[in-house]
Symmetry: C2
Subunit: 194 residues, 2 copies
């Protein structure tokens, strides 16, 4: 998605060889118009997949997921994060380790909102090692629902999570894939889609 790549180049800040800050438009300050275009891009890629629900993870996944939900005309569920979990029997849940924050969170979704006949699109702002994606996939599996694939705003290709999922035949559609942040410079992988 050229517009997103341009925005990353223009407003992203490379903080290290592994950390890209995009808090000017995605995960602290949000550009609503860009979110509409991101939602449309996800909808375009998954429009033939029969999606019935979108599941994302609080907080930065919510804006792109809701815009995709609007385009695909399906409800959006955001998994919540908590250090510990009570009332476990009412929730699907999984553990997600964050390398950036060096902490483990339980993520959970009420059993009321994903059913066995759902076709689920997972959306998240970032895909790096794939820990959050795997947690969300476990939740879809617990619900007995079908996973249509993952829609990712920014994939850090050099951290391998996306390619590992693709090798397991999971459909991963990333709107921007970054192959390197070395020397303070963002290098994008050539996009498979225009």
């Amino acid at each position: 998605m050229e517009q997103l790549q341009n925005r990353i180049t223009q407003d992203g800040k490379v903080l290290s060889n592994t950390v890209l800050q995009v808090d000017r438009f995605l995960n602290h300050q949000i550009d609503p118009d860009l979110m509409v275009d991101i939602g449309r891009a996800f909808a375009e890629r998954f429009k033939s997949a029969g999606i019935t629900k979108i599941v994302t993870l609080e907080s930065s996944g919510i804006a792109p997921a809701v815009m995709a939900g609007l385009e695909l005309d399906v409800p959006v569920i955001f998994a919540r994060k908590k250090k510990s979990l009570t009332l476990v029997e009412q929730f699907y849940h999984a553990e997600v380790y964050s390398y950036t924050k060096s902490e483990t969170n339980n993520i959970f979704v009420s059993k009321a909102f994903i059913e066995a006949d759902d076709v689920v699109l997972l959306i998240d702002d970032f895909l790096a090692n794939g820990q959050a994606a795997k947690g969300l996939m476990q939740i879809v599996e617990q619900a007995g629902a079908q996973l249509a694939g993952l829609g990712i705003v920014i994939e850090k290709g050099f951290q391998g999570g996306g390619d590992e999922l693709r090798q397991s035949n999971i459909r991963v559609e990333s709107l921007a894939i970054i192959d390197s942040l070395e020397d303070g410079h963002v290098t994008f992988r050539n996009e498979a889609h225009p």
Copy 2:
């Protein structure tokens, strides 16, 4: 906002005399179409206020805030919550006590995103005792920006936070005001706006 009241009546669950669960359409599962209408309703009420930024609080404020930002054509910033805070000098921050969760969170916004010449609309999903609203107002004040008012999806009128703010001449626009949850029944305050 009649459509929201109907939705609360239809899909809200009164869990006690003080707790209304709206996780079917607002704060766990999200109805994107309803969010569009909520965003439009906020924009309609604040369109003459010269808003330059919308500030909300993760996570449930994000969807309504982004839709309002889309209509008003302004960026949306979501304050982040954390138990403790590092790098304090880079952030505006405030403490927010949650009665529901019996916990105090620091909420913070990067100093990069609110400037002294901004006119800020605060948006949140709920207003009860007004603790979160006051925390967000402190952040606007620290930035030296102008507060245009608060846009609230659901105000629990019986907990008094909204009326207390109105008495301090803060503009509070709530799309639904609930005056009682007694006997498992949602009683709305008559709306000032159609």
